[in-house]
């Protein structure tokens, strides 16, 4: 059986064209043996390639960038002037700081939902997701890579909001607090990243955009990212407490305030991650049984 030449360096970046002409071995030429137990590079290499590909696609999409960068930054600047600068939230946190932290969370929410959501739904409808499933990468790696890629694009959005907060909002924090806010906003984006992927799995391409946009504002507003929950009418406060965005915000404010991070908040967020993760697995199983996975 004739085989084309095989690249030796698997992880090497491809040089740009032109390529040297490949040599085709004569018929009957034995197939090269696979590298014996190539170790972690063999299994991790493809996933790194896939992850890099996904992040690259997101960062090249002007639509994605416009939404994820535009919304939190514009809202920060908008609401910054809308309230009196000296207003105090929850005792010790100035509004401009509270708003920056909230917009970090909102930016993470927007980026994570949009990275999955519509894009994933379209990919699944078009058959690309299915095409990847017939390559050697394991079935879970599609979902896994999507979530990791979402998390990776969340970080620059958070940093950008912080730069805007420091530059335009005059936010001054101690270095450990900056670090804490950044890491916390980043880590707490995980439920939203999983939610984005779940929406991509659950919802048709036509419905995905309105669902993502709706969730962005429902989670953002009712979670208290625009207006502190304590200023909301009673019934809305009840709803707020079951939303992940409220608990994200609560943790972030606690970091600013130098308070203890409440385990209850972590528990709720962890619960969302687990529940949504199981929902994705369930949806996948259902599709597999019906032969449309």
């Amino acid at each position: 059986m004739t085989r084309p030449p095989v690249d030796a360096a698997l992880l090497e970046m491809e040089p740009a064209a032109p390529y040297p002409a490949p040599e085709h071995p004569a018929p009957g030429h034995p197939a090269p043996e696979p590298p014996a137990a190539a170790g972690w590079r063999a299994s991790v290499g493809p996933l790194l390639a896939f992850g890099g590909f996904e992040v690259g696609r997101l960062l090249r999409s002007w639509k994605f960038l416009a939404i994820t960068i535009g919304f939190p930054v514009i809202f920060y600047l908008l609401f910054l002037g809308d309230h009196t600068a000296g207003r105090i939230i929850g005792g010790t946190v100035p509004w401009r700081v509270y708003l920056m932290v909230s917009m970090c969370s909102f930016g993470a929410l927007v980026a994570a939902l949009n990275a999955g959501g519509t894009r994933l739904s379209m990919e699944r409808a078009s058959g690309w997701a299915r095409q990847l499933r017939v390559t050697p990468i394991p079935a879970w790696s599609y979902v896994g890579t999507k979530i990791v890629a979402s998390m990776l694009v969340v970080l620059p959005v958070i940093l950008l909001v912080e730069v805007v907060g420091a530059g335009f909002g005059g936010v001054r924090l101690a270095a450990p607090v900056w670090l804490g806010v950044t890491l916390l906003s980043w880590a707490t984006a995980l439920p939203f990243a999983v939610l984005g992927v779940f929406i991509g799995f659950l919802v048709s391409t036509e419905a995905a955009f309105p669902v993502v946009t709706g969730l962005m504002f429902v989670l953002g507003y009712l979670g208290g990212l625009f207006t502190p929950v304590s200023l909301m009418p009673g019934p809305l406060q009840v709803i707020a407490h079951i939303l992940p965005s409220y608990h994200v915000d609560a943790l972030a404010v606690a970091v600013i305030d130098g308070r203890m991070l409440a385990p209850a908040d972590w528990l709720v967020l962890g619960g969302y991650v687990v529940a949504l993760g199981l929902a994705i697995v369930w949806k996948h199983r259902v599709e597999e049984a019906r032969g449309i996975a």
Partner: protein, 342 residues
């Protein structure tokens, strides 16, 4: 050469000349794909009905059959996307999922609403990604040459015509240097010209000793490239043999009639239908099961007159394809000419 067939007697009577299998070759090549007594149901609907099938390495096999015959399910099972409820399936001597995980299998599946390629990237980027998912990918230039996509590499995947996108998808399916390739309706988005080019490409691929299994509803073209044609109907093998023998045996009937309700969508969904051509009020339908088609036609309340049933030769079917008012499946009509853009 004998035509081997199994299935219900109503199908057999018209297919079978000699009911025995051909004598096995002296030195048969190893088995590439095997189905043993495989049954799979989606709820009440039986997609595969105790399917038995063996394909040897190096064979180029066309899998024919009307919509719903089980072609796509067969391919999904061979790729491990579906685990059949009963029976045993092996690909290259192992579990289908093992063969996929080892990168020994490539596939071009039916694309859904889009082109089946990741939007927002260039063709070369998509191809380089897929190569890197395999431990032993084929050389980049070899793939490009094989799939004839040299001129498309810098194009964005969402700016390709239907035929161009199919060539890129073919490139992706062979990126892992597979021993076995499955193609599900690969030419469905192509015009007649690009289809011929595509079949030649696949033929060349098979000539290297690789196993190729193509699901298609284009009888004439399948006949031209395949060593062997397998006709599926109702999830079973209705006929199996070399293309030339099947040509004489395949029970295609042509139905012609006149109707004021010539709806392409409805007509192509009728049971047994493989081709639909509409010229004004005149309709010409090719069917693998004329009786069932007519029952279905009546059942759906389509009023027709001047019904005429003839045996349809494959050449006739091909003339109909290129002739007046050929109504293609929606995907094809949308794709338009090869050179054009969407």
């Amino acid at each position: 050469m004998a035509v081997c067939a199994s299935g219900s007697p109503s199908q057999l009577s018209i297919l079978l000349e000699v009911p025995s299998r051909p004598a096995p070759p002296v030195n048969p090549s190893p088995v590439a794909l095997s189905f043993r007594d495989v049954t799979h149901r989606y709820g009440q609907r039986t997609a595969l009905d105790r399917l038995d099938l063996v394909v040897r390495q190096g064979e180029v096999v066309a899998l024919l059959g009307p919509n719903g015959a089980g072609k796509s399910t067969t391919i999904s099972v061979l790729l491990g996307l579906i685990r059949p409820q009963e029976g045993r399936v092996e690909v290259l001597g192992s579990d289908p999922r093992r063969a996929v995980a080892d990168g020994r299998v490539g596939a071009m599946l039916q694309s859904g609403s889009g082109v089946g390629l990741p939007p927002g990237v260039r063709v070369d980027q998509a191809l380089r990604l897929v190569r890197r998912l395999y431990r032993r990918p084929a050389a980049f230039d070899w793939i490009v040459e094989r799939a004839d996509i040299g001129g498309l590499l810098r194009r964005r995947t969402d700016k390709l015509s239907g035929g161009q996108a199919q060539r890129v998808r073919f490139a992706i399916s062979i990126a892992g240097d597979p021993e076995v390739v499955f193609l599900d309706e690969p030419t469905s988005a192509m015009d007649v010209e690009s289809r011929h080019g595509f079949w030649r490409m696949m033929r060349a691929f098979g000539d290297e000793g690789r196993t190729v299994l193509v699901a298609t509803h284009h009888l004439a073209e399948a006949d031209q490239i395949a060593d062997r044609v397998i006709v599926l109907n109702h999830g079973r093998v209705a006929a199996d043999g070399p293309g030339a023998t099947l040509k004489a045996a395949v029970a295609t009937r042509r139905l012609r009639f006149v109707t004021d309700q010539a709806d392409q969508q409805v007509l192509s969904e009728l049971e047994g239908v493989t081709e639909v051509a509409i010229c004004g009020t005149g309709v010409s339908i090719d069917s693998l099961d004329a009786d069932a088609t007519i029952r279905d036609l009546v059942g759906r309340g389509v009023r027709f007159r001047d019904l005429e049933i003839t045996g349809a030769g494959l050449e006739q079917a091909f003339v109909a394809l290129t002739g007046c008012g050929v109504a293609r499946p929606p995907a094809e009509a949308k794709a338009g000419a090869e050179g054009g853009t969407r």
